[in-house]
Amino acid sequence: MRSDLTNDIIRLTGEHLSLVGISMALAILLGVPLGIVVARHPASRRWLLGLSSIVQTIPSLALFGFLIPIPFIGGIGTRTVIIALVLYALLPILRNTFVGILSVDPAVCDSAIAMGMTDGQLLRQVQLPLAARTIIAGIRVATVTTIGTATIAAAIGGGGLGVFIFRGVASVDTAQILAGAIPAAAIALLADGGLGWLERRLSPA
């Protein structure tokens, strides 16, 4: 017999969380260092920001579609989904990182440099801690968006809560659609709330 709806919800929620979790981890690992690079090298700003802005404008399903035929990174399934999600999550994280760093009070940075802090010390002890709140805000926005975009994973065999939604649309079954939409919305609210709390806690002076 077909498995229980509840079992399905648990399983697909798990898949969804895994997709979002892995994508966000990779996006942060990529986006924060790149944001630091952009803050340090104004010359890189235009093309790095420009590139991620362009990616953002591509409609999600279209991006999935573009990636499918590419060898190695493409094809059906979770790997392609994760690559697309990472590309989408990059811009808010990158932008907030570099804006956060550049918004640190210039007097503070000047003092730090004048006191003989190396670039690394300046970054780790001054800029990143003071930019943390802005960076977390960027991560928060990216996470909430990713949770939503990940529902499209179902179209290319990536699993997740989108499976309910696509099934429900195909069979005009509201219960199915809700079985996908409600957990997704709940996860988004939790992520938004949790990261928002972290943001507020990090508020320095």
Binding site: D105, V108, S111, A114, G116, Q125, A205
Partner: protein, 240 residues
């Protein structure tokens, strides 16, 4: 040998000449005041001293060695720097702010703590009360005192002051000027002090160098300065 020497220094930025043919020496133990209008190049001269900027022409020598040859980090840690906005780290408390350079230099914690407490007392802010305060809890004057303590923390031979008391009210400014003179007496540091306030210059300086459009018009002690004849000097003295 002068502690700091400017030899035929010129500095250009974005096509503008900020300093031209700038010559000056600073002797150990003195307070040299750089007096001038806004845009006369005073802050630039300070930044050329600690290697935050390098001259377009000529050289700046610190302890006989060109700033270009110094290890840039060593040079900066060798010189204390106090700016108008203070620039205390908002996410460090007072003690951590003051102890910054000693910690970077690897002093042991006990020594750092002792030094921080000593300096706080010296600038008139009892350590027991102020150690753990956050910068945002302090008044402007208190913040600048912490800034001075921070500059002194690693015991550098040279201190640079960039209009440090400019943003404070006249009463607090006078208090801090008095504090400066006491500290100068106690610690026997060499200071280069930038200001556009002629009264402050006369009060604090052992010598005053008057800057006009990027060059030194005159250098003299406060007494001689008040008898100066040059146009710019007269203009400043009229403000007394």
């Amino acid at each position: 040998m002068p502690l700091v020497e400017f030899r035929n220094v010129s500095y250009d930025i974005a096509g503008k000449r900020i300093l031209s043919d700038f010559n000056l020496s600073v002797e150990a133990g003195e307070t040299l005041v750089l007096l001038g209008r806004s845009g006369s190049g005073k802050s630039t001269a300070l930044k050329l001293t600690n290697g935050m900027l390098f001259p377009t022409e000529g050289q700046v020598l610190v302890e006989g060695q060109s700033t270009r040859e110094w290890d840039p980090i060593k040079l900066k840690r060798h010189i204390g720097y106090v700016i108008q906005d203070v620039g205390l780290f908002p996410h460090f408390n007072v003690a951590r702010n003051i102890g910054l350079v000693p910690r970077l230099e690897g002093w042991i914690e006990a020594d750092i703590e002792r030094r921080v407490n000593h300096l706080l007392d010296k600038v008139g802010m009892p350590a027991s009360e102020f150690r753990t305060r956050q910068p945002r809890e302090l008044s402007g004057g208190q913040r600048q005192r912490v800034g001075v303590a921070r500059a002194l923390a690693a015991d550098p031979p040279l201190l640079l002051f960039d209009e440090p008391f400019g943003a404070l009210d006249p009463v607090t400014r006078l208090e801090l000027q008095k504090q400066f003179l006491e500290l100068h007496r106690d610690f026997k540091k060499t200071s280069i002090f930038v200001t556009h306030d002629v009264r402050e210059a006369i009060r604090l300086g052992s010598r005053i160098a008057l800057l006009v459009r990027g060059t030194v018009e005159i250098v003299s002690n406060p007494a001689e300065f008040q008898l100066a004849h040059g146009g710019e000097a007269r203009a400043f003295l009229a403000c007394l």
